[in-house]
């Protein structure tokens, strides 16, 4: 336990190391060796954090479940120095060690470490290698702060920190203005959510008078919420609803839920390891983690739970419809991520917080793997991301292919792969939700069908259909501002398998995608039992019997896959289901391809029209009115100054006269009380 501070501490050290020494190391050790050193350190610190997390985990498991919430300082040597101490607000650099925070530590450092390893290969040719790992380690640090924090304010620091790293990494190749724009979009859209989050934090302080989740004395706001009290009496449903919805607004931004999901697909402009780590496995699940963390508060508000469930399931469905038609391999995965995050919120919304976290875990494995696999495909295709120009890669890059298959089956919900168990648990819990449980289930199930379909489509287009490119053309056009802009030398021409560092990562995640779900088999659900001390219990009524649910889930997944395979088998040559003429006339296809025109509408309404409002405020209010007042006052002061300056004549007689006048005035002023008395 005394080593906990090293969990975020080591990545921070890595960050500082790369930030201050990275460039000089590359310079002094030579390009290849320098990059190797930096990559080894960056990956090493993350795995070292994982190791410490495991040790802490061992310690924690020795304790009884009710003791599985330990309070530790995040400062070296267990120092307890307040960060903020104003009035009754005291915020310390404290962390909570409990199953939830440790689970996230495992995901962040484990999957994070694997993706770091992958990135050492993927980014090997990039000139900004040290800068990449500077940001990457910083991200791990902030993400760990987010999950370990003992209070919601320190969590918010981590929350904003990962947002910053996300922004920096999306626009990592900032020379291309499109990438910078994507970074800005992510940052700005997240700001909207963060507004809700920060107001939520303030509301928590107003209602509970503290920002700590839990304290050893039982005075944290979740301690109180679990008992349904506040320092001023009972916790009202209204207050709980307000806080829950404000926090959920923040979660919507960070975890890309409708209507704030628009930034995530654009965020794919970053390097693929970034998409895998930040925009699939870890950061985007922060919203789910946060909602799970405050679950004792959430369960007090049926309205908020209903909102979370509905937004979640709608986002899952909606994003899946878009994923059906996208041609960019990373865009498909991006919308798929949005969709899967929707499932997680559905889980939280119906009170199955552990199931939601289970899906966070399995999703980290298979979606991380899908992105890394996609990165490997893009690498193999020398920077090509458009699936219309792929095909037939099955035998050319076998390791990538087989690992991708594991992830594909996992996300499609085929047992015994990881995704099946978690998705099944969420949907099963939905059926037990008192309000509209079956409706939520139905939408979720239909979405599962679509998920299986679009993922199979991705696999078909990439691996099975006939190649739609010529080897000698690959790499010739290099990159066109898309991902993977690293320069390819001659030996890289043509389709090629990725270097070992990337393949190892793929294999590790593939194994996890296959077996990772086995910890949550219904009836022997070790996962739920493990997480129980961290989440609020929520009584669900008996829903659909588990075996039937599993059967239906498997059937939907299988049908989705089968339909897709059959359809694409007929179009082996083109790899396209619709002919160009059909595409032009099919409204559904066009709508889905164009993201249902939501991005365009946002742009028109907020950027163009909003820009006009801003323009008016700038010119009309700020320049004319406010600057006018300011300039008037300044002008007046200048005028007065000029006026009174004339009294400074330079003549002693004038000065002496002024003094004499002053003397008379002072004497009169001092004698004034007497004079008044005399007259009365």
């Amino acid at each position: 336990m005394s080593l906990v501070w090293l969990i975020p501490g080591l990545p921070l050290i890595g960050f500082l190391f790369h930030a201050f020494l990275g460039k000089s190391i590359v310079k002094s050790m030579g390009d290849a060796n320098g990059k190797k050193t930096i990559g080894a350190i960056a990956t090493g610190v993350v795995f070292a954090s994982l190791l410490i997390s495991v040790m802490v985990f061992m310690d924690l498991m020795k304790l009884a479940p009710m003791d599985q919430r330990q309070y530790v300082s995040l400062l070296p040597g267990g120092a307890r120095i307040p960060w903020i101490s104003i009035g009754s607000l005291h915020v310390y650099y404290m962390g909570i060690i409990d199953p939830l925070s440790l689970l996230m530590c495992f995901i962040v450092t484990g999957v994070g470490g694997v993706i770091h390893l992958y990135a050492t290969g993927y980014m090997a040719d990039d000139k900004d290698y040290p800068r990449f790992f500077t940001y990457f380690n910083l991200f791990i640090f902030f993400m760990l702060m987010l999950v370990l924090s003992e209070n919601i304010l320190l969590m918010f620091v981590g929350w904003e920190g990962v947002g910053l790293c996300s922004y920096l990494l999306i626009s990592f190749w900032f020379e291309d203005v499109e990438n910078s724009k994507a970074g800005n979009k992510a940052f700005i859209v997240n700001r909207i959510g963060d507004l809700g989050f920060s107001i939520g934090v303030m509301t928590i302080f107003a209602v509970f008078g503290t920002l700590s989740f839990y304290t050893p004395q039982g005075t944290g706001f979740l301690d109180m919420a679990a008992k349904g009290i506040t320092p001023h009496g009972m916790l009202s449903v209204g207050a709980a609803t307000l806080i829950a919805l404000l926090l959920f607004m923040g979660a919507c931004g960070k975890s890309a839920q409708f209507p704030l999901y628009v930034w995530l697909p654009d965020a794919m402009a970053g390097p693929t390891p970034v998409s895998a780590l930040i925009h699939a496995a870890t950061m985007v699940t922060a919203g789910v983690v946060m909602i799970t963390r405050v679950s004792p508060l959430i369960v007090h508000s049926p309205i908020a739970m209903m909102v979370i469930a509905c937004v979640g399931v709608f986002t899952a469905f909606y994003a899946a419809t878009i994923a059906m038609t996208q041609n960019d391999i990373k865009k498909v995965l991006a919308y798929s991520t949005v969709s899967q995050l929707g499932y997680m919120f559905l889980g939280c919304g119906v009170g199955a917080f552990a199931a939601g976290m289970f899906h966070v875990t399995t999703h980290a494995f298979f979606k991380g793997l899908l992105f890394l696999g996609a990165g490997s495909v893009i690498h193999a295709m020398s920077g090509e991301q458009d699936m219309r120009k792929m095909g037939g890669l099955k035998d050319r890059i076998p390791v990538t292919f087989w690992t991708m298959v594991c992830a594909w089956l996992a996300i499609s919900g085929i047992p015994p792969f990881a995704g099946f168990w978690s998705k099944d648990e969420i949907l099963g819990s939905a059926t037990g939700f008192p309000q509209y449980g079956m409706a939520l289930y139905a939408v979720g199930m239909f979405t599962a069908l679509m998920t299986a379909f679009y993922m199979t489509r991705l696999m078909m287009k990439t691996f099975w259909t006939k190649p739609r490119y010529k080897d000698e053309e690959l790499g010739a056009h290099s990159s066109h501002g898309s991902d993977d802009s690293h320069s390819h030398d001659a030996k890289h021409h043509g389709v090629h398998e990725s270097p070992p560092s990337m393949l190892i990562s793929l294999v590790i995640l593939a194994i996890l995608s296959v077996i990772g779900g086995l910890v949550g088999i219904p009836g022997h659900n070790l996962f739920d039992k493990f997480l129980a001390p961290s989440v609020a219990p929520y009584p669900l009524k008996d829903g659909m019997p588990v075996p039937i649910g599993m059967l239906l889930g498997t059937a939907f997944g299988a049908v989705g896959i089968a339909v897709c395979v059959v359809m694409y088998n007929r179009r082996q040559e083109t790899g396209d289901l619709l002919s160009p003429k059909e595409k032009a006339s099919n409204a559904l296809y066009k709508g889905s391809l164009n993201l249902w025109y939501v991005d365009a509408a946002y742009y028109k309404f907020f950027v163009t029209e909003g820009g006009k409002v801003a323009e008016f405020i700038w010119q009309g209010i700020d320049r004319a009115l406010i600057d006018g007042i300011v300039n008037f006052v300044a002008g007046l002061l200048g005028f007065l100054s000029e006026l009174f300056r004339r009294f400074q004549t330079g003549y002693i007689r004038a000065y002496a006269f002024m003094m004499l006048a002053g003397v008379v005035a002072v004497v009169i002023s001092v004698l004034w009380p007497f004079l008044r008395h005399l007259h009365i």
Binding site: L637, S641, F647, I652, A656, V663, V666, L671, P673
Partner: protein, 488 residues
Amino acid sequence: MNGVNISEDLYQILPLIVLWGAACVILMGDVILWKRSRGITAFLSLASCLVAMWLVLQRVVSGDNTSAFHDSILNDPLALITTIALLVTASLSILLAWSYLKNRGMNHGEYYVLLILSVTGAMLMASANDLIILFIGLEILSFSLYILAGFSRNEVKSQESSLKYFLLGAFASAFLLYGIAMIYGGTGSINFDVIAKEIQGATAPNPMLMIGIALLLVGLGFKAAVIPFHQWTPDVYEGAPTSVTAYMAGAAKIGAFAAILRVFNTLMPFHEFWVPAIYIIAVLTMVFGNLLAITQTNVKRMLAYSSIAHAGYLLVAVVSMVTSNVTAHDQAIEGALFYLFAYIFMTIGAFGVLVYLSSHDKDYQTFDDIRGLARRHPLPAYLMMFFMLSLGGIPPTMGFVGKWLIFIAAIHSGQVGLAIVMALVSVAAVYYYLKVVWMMCFEAPTKAPSDIPANGFPALLSVTFCAIATVIFGVLPDLMINITGLIR
């Protein structure tokens, strides 16, 4: 009461004796022993100031504050703290003058002797517990300053400033002396303790005493440069050699405010008579000091008006002393003392940068001189920026903390109106301080970038010391508040 033992009395004024003795030795030595090597003169002067400071600090540590010479000298914490401020001012000024005098062709040993003598005058004002001692101290201070102001004998402006200062100073001294006479007439004593006792028992105040107080305020207000007794300030500050201006701006203000704090603390029971006068003077001084600084185009003149404005802030502290709340009363005095320290560091620093930059053919004074300074001489320019930010009261500098302490004291003693005026004029003040920064950093230089500051190491040392103090006590004000808090 107890001053029978003459050696004990002399011990109480030992720092003064050291400085007087040093002044005599240096004056003789400069003429007879080490002709033309002013370095020795300057060094010995600095050394004597430091020895005196050491003696004062010892007294601060030992914590004994006894009176001497039949209660006419009182070494209480207020006196000791202001004395420290004075000796710091003198030491920094000696360092500034070291090479400036040589470069500007007025390298005469009397400079240092006069400087030491004037500081003893101000020290005497600070420890005076008796109106005659106060007057003697003020005259010792003033006479030396009159001569120092005209020290640049070849410059007409310097001569003019000396004469103006002398004539108006004599005028003011007359009022002061007349005031002392009136007070004596009204109370039968010149000793503060006796006067305090006298008015404590009095049922109705004596008009003669009141007029005396008014005239005393005029005399001290002249030295402190408050409106409407301020008009000499810009002319004298501009005309005097810059190293003298730096010293004068510091020492005269400290001496005057030490006396003002003591006198009006003594006269507290009659506050309803003198508070309105000081209130009005404070407002006028703050408003017009800042207002007139805005249109200045000469840095020295601008700083002169700024020094007037700062006197206004200090008067706010004086008014804030008047309260039944003991804590607020102490806060006000502490704030004033802190502000005096802040004031000397930033003002001497600001003038010091001009001193440092001046060479034998060019005296840095106008805005044109410092235009684009950051590109020509980055170090002095950035130091100057610190002083400007501090003078403008921007954190994390000492000027900010000082202003804040006085502001809080004013609010605690119920002078919200003064606090508001102070805050508002501070905003206007930022304009002209930042204008200097703007000139230095953002305007194109008007001069060739070749001229090199020739004023060497001592001046730079002095200025750097001021800058460091400005920042350190700005970040860790407690270090200074521990000292000023001794008055409690």
